[in-house]
Symmetry: C2
Subunit: 192 residues, 2 copies
DNA sequence: GTCTATACTTGGATAGAC
DNA sequence: GTCTATCCAAGTATAGAC
């Protein structure tokens, strides 16, 4: 297997492991076992387990941001944005990508170094959400009432909590019904 | 020190440790060091580290639920409920109690046994939030549009995410401004 | 670039003295 | 009920062969 292929398979295994058994279960041995490669390779390629996890975060983040920007760019109204958000949620749920991020956030508690890096990689998502919201709120009465920055941060916060809770309670933590309900709220806030 | 005093001090140390260095940092040794007692006592009194953490969750939960019920019982309108929620948030933020819960949820990923127990202890909070919301939404147009169960679960989900993110980003993850903004939304949904 | 082997560290858990 | 001592398992990280 070439160096690049191995790198990619390691990142994949890292995401899968964190997703399934959490940050504290994602040891170099567990990840290597899951991906079918040697444990020592983690240190050769990424220096440390956290290094591997951050590389994975980079990979996922870039791919997802590009993909989701396209989806959201097409949404002009609040209702359309909610529909796009629901599609995004379903994808993230299936892939487990945000569950991965949630676990990294939780695991950062004891590692200031990791925390700093994770935080830096969340920044583009704050901007992304702000942009989407400010466009969609333009035609609603919410525009004058709720600062977009606050709301964007709240949306990301909720999303993080949702993906964390899904691991604990997969049956119940389904946001689909909530998305539908929120779309029912739209008429109430539309600017007449 | 009597048995009961030791028990209480162990629970306190456990909460502080999880809050400060996260679930994966909260080893029996770390907790014992923090509380100034012997590591072996964790196993004598609680059987395991997870046993201690669950006992702490019981203690905190009972105290907080009773206290917060009083606060919320006095709130009759949505605006008053938001004000009460803001007070609760400030207390939890200071005490770190919900940060503790968030860490337990995250740590449960690899421990089905712990997950089950944590989940069971969240149940009263779902009911609590549902009750509060259904009373407060009665006078608003939201009553017909958003199912209370969905909303209550979403509120708890957000709260969990908020307390998780606060550890990572204490400067920014402040919900105070958001609470204020939400109170500005109330007039929009009041039933005319 | 990938493997084996291993030194070192940390944590869970228990036995037995006090 | 609390302590010391200790065993065992698991994880990090590196050296060195291939």
């Amino acid at each position: 297997m070439s160096g690049n292929e191995t790198r990619a398979s390691m990142i994949e295994a890292a995401v899968a492991t964190v997703r399934e058994i959490g940050y504290s279960g994602a040891t170099s041995r567990a990840i290597a076992h899951r991906g079918g490669f040697n444990q020592a390779l983690v240190y050769y390629h990424f220096g440390s387990v956290d290094g591997l996890l951050l590389a994975a975060l980079d990979d996922l983040g870039a791919a997802r941001l590009e993909e989701y920007r396209k989806l959201v760019d097409r949404a002009d109204t609040l209702d359309e944005l909610l529909a796009a958000a629901q599609r995004i949620y379903r994808r993230d749920r299936r892939s487990g990508h945000v569950a991965f991020v949630s676990q990294l956030v939780a695991g950062s508690a004891e590692r200031p170094e990791l925390a700093r890096e994770v935080l830096a990689r969340m920044e583009p998502w704050v901007t992304f959400t702000e942009d989407a919201l400010s466009k969609a709120l333009r035609l609603t009465a919410l525009e004058d009432v709720v600062p977009v920055e606050e709301l964007a941060y709240a949306v990301l916060t909720y999303y993080l909590g949702l993906n964390l809770l899904t691991q604990l309670d997969p049956r119940r933590a389904r946001a689909d019904a909530l998305f539908e309900s929120l779309r029912g709220v739209v008429p109430l806030v539309e600017r007449k």
